[in-house]
């Protein structure tokens, strides 16, 4: 059986499984559509949250970004796990106690204002749509590879599949489907990592192998990796090269963004009790940590494998890989298959029959290149997002592992895209249309408008996904910045302060959202349209602060504006203060009420 058939088999059977479960547990009523009837055990819920959470950004993109940057991209690891601490301590138990279906309902009730609710919905839609763009980028890479078509075709096919998949059922179908998806994606992520860790370090646990010794040379793996990459003029892997302030702000943005993302918070509405909401966050992080503890090992080991593959005769002095070897040697087949997607490319610029891979921006390397007659780096394109999917092929693993990884990558992208589309559609149909515009809408009409909202969101995301503002994980990081600047502060103030009033919260959210959005658009182009940006992240507007790190500042603006405006306006009514008091204690948490 050839690789294509094997991939098709793995992807096809995993899809059949998800769709089967979705049909078996199809959403009946509106309340089931949104919150799965609240009968979900914390461990099950944790697993589903993990699948929902770990998207194309975590699965497909993150290890690649770490691989090519090293320590400096540790922010992704700390940021996307540290947010769960905030979620568990500051939000989840109280929002469950509050007992409504959506995040914006809480904001609307707590800040006793329809405007607050609508502003929250707008914030959710902006952050979620940006997030879906990142997912579509990942979907494009995965479908492109596995159907062996170019990236754009892959993206369009992927969009149709995501749409068909997301309209199928609501949260209930999605909850059990996502448990299945979690199992598929974590298996697909860890199995190749274990194989590779064994090959390189002899340790079956990748997180330990990362700090173990490289079997071939006997020196620690990370020391070896530092040697290999600095020899080619790249930054060392383990040292800190980036700006410290930016790294702190970026990590913080990802953390508070995690705690402000609607599709994750919604998950905590679906557990039976307040105490379960606390445990649920812990279980979610257990399942997430399995991937996040593995990812840095995947990145480091892949970087080592790729570099040694390009310089197969013992580093830079042994000579580069030849063009014939890439064409004929089965070890290099992955390069030919990935070239078809347009995401990997090489060119023998100096015509010596070899492909020299090095950092041609490094002055020392330029001198060396002059001596050796090299005309620049000849591995001309290596899209970071392909690393995880290409990893098993690079390490020469059996073909069933490659098929498994293709299925896992799609599971990751699909599960999150579906969860986000659900959050967007419920925001539009439940909060905007039913909550604000037409309270008398029938259940049928509400479900229909939910599905129309989904369709619109996916069309927009696909269109923008064709020219994404960055690699999948970077685009997703922007979505986190937006959630961090708008939703998280409002939720936190709503629970931990009885003082902040309606006008304060609305001004805070709007200020946070607008400054962050403008900062992002200034660097990534207005509405992410390429070429309309005035600044770049290489040379940002405010000192070292990149657009991906601005969410933390936006959040600070939100808190500050809310605080100042509250001081100038009318006090919060007693009834609302009582509501806050009641949210703070678990006793009396009943079944959720609809409006």
């Amino acid at each position: 059986m050839d690789q294509f058939t094997i991939n098709l088999l793995f992807v096809g059977s995993s899809f059949a499984l998800y769709i089967g479960i979705a049909i078996w547990a199809r959403a009946g009523s509106t309340s089931e559509f949104y919150a799965a009837g609240r009968g979900v055990h914390p461990v099950t819920n944790g697993m589903a949250t993990a699948a929902d959470w770990m998207s194309a950004a975590s699965f497909i993109s993150m290890a690649g970004l770490i691989a090519f940057t090293g320590y400096d991209n540790s922010s992704f690891l700390m940021g996307w796990t540290g947010g769960y601490v905030l979620l568990a301590l500051l939000l989840a138990p109280y929002l469950r106690k509050f007992g409504k279906f959506t995040v914006s309902e809480f904001i609307g009730d707590r800040f006793y204002s329809q405007t607050a609710r609508i502003v929250a919905v707008i914030c959710l839609i902006v952050a979620s749509t940006t997030y879906v763009i990142g997912q579509m980028t990942g979907v494009g890479v995965a479908f492109g590879r596995f159907l062996e078509v170019d990236n754009t075709t892959g993206l369009l096919i992927g969009a149709c599949v995501v749409f068909a998949y997301a309209v199928f059922g609501g949260m209930k179908g999605v909850t059990y489907t996502q448990v299945a998806q979690y199992v598929v994606l974590i298996t697909a992520y860890t199995i190749p990592a274990i194989f590779i860790s064994l090959q390189l370090t002899g340790n079956p646990i990748p997180g330990l192998g990362l700090f173990g010794d490289d079997v071939a040379s006997g020196v620690p793996l990370l020391t070896k990796l530092d040697q290999v990459v600095t020899e080619l003029g790249f930054n060392s892997y383990t040292a800190h090269h980036s700006n410290t302030l930016n790294m702190v702000l970026f990590t913080l943005s990802l953390m508070i963004g995690t705690a402000g993302l609607p599709h994750v918070i919604m998950r905590f509405f679906t557990v039976p009790k307040v105490s379960d909401a606390r445990w649920s966050a812990g279980w979610a992080l257990v399942f997430i940590a399995l991937l996040y503890l593995t990812a840095p090992a995947v990145g480091a080991m892949a970087r080592l494998n790729i570099t040694e593959m390009m310089w197969p005769n013992g580093g830079i002095n042994g000579g580069a890989v030849s063009v014939e070897a890439i064409a004929d040697d089965p070890k290099y087949d992955w390069m030919d298959t990935w070239q078809k997607t347009g995401l990997l490319d090489w060119e023998d610029k100096n015509g010596d029959g070899k492909i020299q891979y090095y950092n041609d921006k490094n002055a020392e390397m330029q001198t060396l290149a002059e001596e050796k007659g090299w005309k620049g780096n000849e591995l001309t394109k290596f899209n970071r997002d392909i690393l995880v999917l290409a990893n098993p092929e690079i390490a020469n693993l059996p073909s069933w592992v490659i098929g498994l990884v293709a299925a896992g990558g799609l599971a990751a992208a699909l599960s999150t895209a579906a969860g986000l589309l659900l959050a967007i559609s419920s925001a539009v149909s439940h909060d905007l249309i039913k909550g604000a515009y037409n309270p008398k809408i029938s259940e049928k009409g509400e479900l229909l408008s939910a599905r129309i909202a989904m369709a619109v969101a996916i069309v927009v995301a696909t269109y923008l996904g064709l020219n994404p503002p960055g690699f999948a994980a970077q685009t997703v990081a922007l979505a986190f910045g937006l959630a961090a600047a708008s939703i998280f502060p409002a939720l936190m103030m709503g629970i931990f302060s009885t003082r902040i009033n309606n006008i304060g919260a609305v001004s805070g959210m709007l200020a946070g959202l607008v400054v962050t959005l403008v900062y992002i658009f200034l660097h990534k182009g207005w509405f992410f349209i390429p070429g309309t940006n005035s600044f770049t992240d290489a040379d940002p507007l405010l000192g070292p602060i990149k657009s991906t790190s601005f969410g933390a500042i936006g959040a600070a603006v939100n808190f500050l504006v809310a605080y100042v405006v509250t001081g100038m306006t009318k006090e919060t009514p007693q009834a609302i203060k009582d509501l806050v008091e009641s949210v703070r204690v678990p006793r009396g948490a009943g079944v959720a009420q609809d409006h």
Binding site: L89, F211, L252, K273, S275, R278, G282, L293
Partner: protein, 86 residues
């Protein structure tokens, strides 16, 4: 941010546990993982230093411990103050 308007020991006990947890949360990630890394550079861990380990492994493990500690502790505090769900 808390005005301590909940005039019971329950909320202040909760705030105390949250504060301790968040100090540890910040210490292992922003502290050991980023800002204090230079101070930890003398402690070698498998080809690099302790700060790198905290940034890529240790902080995640500590986060897990914090959340389970908080859930365990708070569920107990709920009962002690008689505000648990019957």
């Amino acid at each position: 941010m808390s005005e301590n308007s909940s005039n019971n020991g329950y909320w202040s006990a909760n705030m105390r546990i949250i504060s301790i947890s968040l100090v540890i949360w910040a210490l292992v990630s922003f502290g050991f993982g980023i800002l204090l890394r230079p101070l930890l550079s003398g402690i070698a861990v498998g080809g690099t230093d302790l700060g790198f380990w905290f940034a890529q492994q240790g902080s995640i493990l500590v986060f897990l411990a914090i959340i389970f500690f908080y859930a365990f502790r708070m569920n107990k505090v709920d009962r002690e103050h008689g505000v648990d769900e019957e």
